[in-house]
Symmetry: C2
Amino acid sequence: MAAGEAGNGRGITLDAVARVAGVSRATVSRVVNGNPKVGDEAKRQVERAIERLGYIPNPAARSLVTRRSDSIGVVIPEPPGMLFGDPFFPRLLRGISAELSARNLQLVLLMPQAPDEEPRVERYLAAGHVDGALLVSLHGDDSLPAALAARGLPVVVGGRPPGGEGVSYVDVDNVGGAKSAVAHLIRAGRRVIATIGGPPDMSAGIDRLEGYRQGLAAGGLAPDAALEAAADFTQEGGAEAMRRILAGRPDVDGVFAASDLMAAGALQVLREAGRRVPEDVSIVGFDDSSIAATAEPPLTSVRQPIEEMGREMVRLLLEQASRPGSVPRKVILSTQLVRRRSSEGGPKR
Amino acid sequence: MAAGEAGNGRGITLDAVARVAGVSRATVSRVVNGNPKVGDEAKRQVERAIERLGYIPNPAARSLVTRRSDSIGVVIPEPPGMLFGDPFFPRLLRGISAELSARNLQLVLLMPQAPDEEPRVERYLAAGHVDGALLVSLHGDDSLPAALAARGLPVVVGGRPPGGEGVSYVDVDNVGGAKSAVAHLIRAGRRVIATIGGPPDMSAGIDRLEGYRQGLAAGGLAPDAALEAAADFTQEGGAEAMRRILAGRPDVDGVFAASDLMAAGALQVLREAGRRVPEDVSIVGFDDSSIAATAEPPLTSVRQPIEEMGREMVRLLLEQASRPGSVPRKVILSTQLVRRRSSEGGPKR
DNA sequence: GTAGATCGTGAGAGCGCTCTCACGACGTGC
DNA sequence: GCACGTCGTGAGAGCGCTCTCACGATCTAC
């Protein structure tokens, strides 16, 4: 053994193992890949040789012939403010990673930080570096899913794609979650319920607004444009929206914010305006992020199963990869209302 | 062209391009890799052919011969509570990703979620899938850095490695940051300053405690064991620690918490105990996470340059990869105190 | 006892690329 | 006019692996 060459896998090839074990390369390959057509004795010899040499298969060589990379790409473009404010990301990645490693697959993370990096990402994914791609948090009418699908790469999107259909996706039940938040406020005796919505060009924003409206309708309350204010998922935006609502409808007694961060902003503005939460105004957020628990008062919020979303995306992707040309599927995960003090009050009735 | 074969790079090889361009494979390879020794005419022809065929080089084949993968691994073990509470991660990844993509390198994310997954990670990294590895948030005396280094893989650790030296790392100036926080409290007129420390087996915990002690000493204050309570970086732990401190030293008038989350817990306990912040007690956190700005009152906190840390880790790694066998280096990034209301008060003097 | 199936094994042909080396076509210096 | 670089190009040898195919040995069925 050459000097400086520790007993690791560097430089040890299939061939070396075969020689030591006294068998052919093919047999070693079979053992390594779990092919059952190998005699017990040969298998033992090979395993011993692998152990002794510290052999580790060269992934590039393998990938070259199998045409698989055993890794998948996860694309997360520059998040639109929202995603960096709370641990959405880490949790999603955790779910994805858990599901992948259970299948011995690797995760290649791509974070294009400017629109001009997208071609690079597309190129990378199309080159065969990955066996499939997971796309999250797309803005506007991103063409990436379609472009990749056209190239034959299995793709699954996280969150309902703005562009619409033609691609598999996993989303949480934004409509249902928002609806349940409003129902909760109505149950608490609130009658003038406003919403601070997300960006109108993001499906999470659109769907939560839709759920709010459905919730009002279900409770027999009339919609009012003055009770709807759109923001950008940030705290500052939420505060601003709350001010607009207070100006238009000073009699507001319930607020559903499409994110906890916006709810926190609203909380601040309400406090400054002399409204007590939850005595005068009840408030419900969305995400159940860490800020919901630490806010004063703690925020009632709609929890999303983020890890599960990551897991499900992987499952869907692999399903798609195993049967090419299958129709796109969608999976909607249900949300759950987490009650905290911000919606406890309400009029005695 | 066979049916179903869209005009993409799949199946298009160097050879095909060479034939179309009327040159040899070697020449095409030169053009693709930017080798200057190619005639103008040939170059033009090749570029046209590449464009026309939509050729994308096969990464596996390339990697097989170059022995580089052009990607690096980022290992993030199951975070010890702390890291999921705030956007440390996404920001770090963003910094890493930015620096990598500027160099056309890819990021392979590995998140071993249980100790038994570590061998898998080590194996993966050692197999040559990556050209180097970045390790963050190691617990205890993780053997991974040493194991990888022994295999000849360039490694850089984020945060001072608990095991100690022998490996390059990037860290923030935890000692200096803590010290400046304490100095700030002293300047505000506080004299009975407690600390809520992090886990004593993590370097961030150890170093911030050290900084706290240095800060006291610099201000001429005597240390007191009853003023030091260790916790686990969580809000609950911070609350618990604050209770212990109040029990032992009811006269406490300043608190330095080694994380914002713990500071938030302390805030809650102080409020319940009838102490006003910042009038009666000043409090300073660490991290300057989103929770610092949303807390009531907003928390003064020590900001860490997280993105920059990611960037610097990449630079260090590449430096190391370019000169194998060079001595381990460390880079310490400075922190910055962000003043908010939680430390505004203080006695008039 | 023979034809046929079954089983473990090895030989060898690639996968698509890079890179060394050799070679012919020029230019340059004396 | 000849030896000597220089420059662009092509031929071809691998990189380390998988996988098909052929082959001899052993087993089953009649």
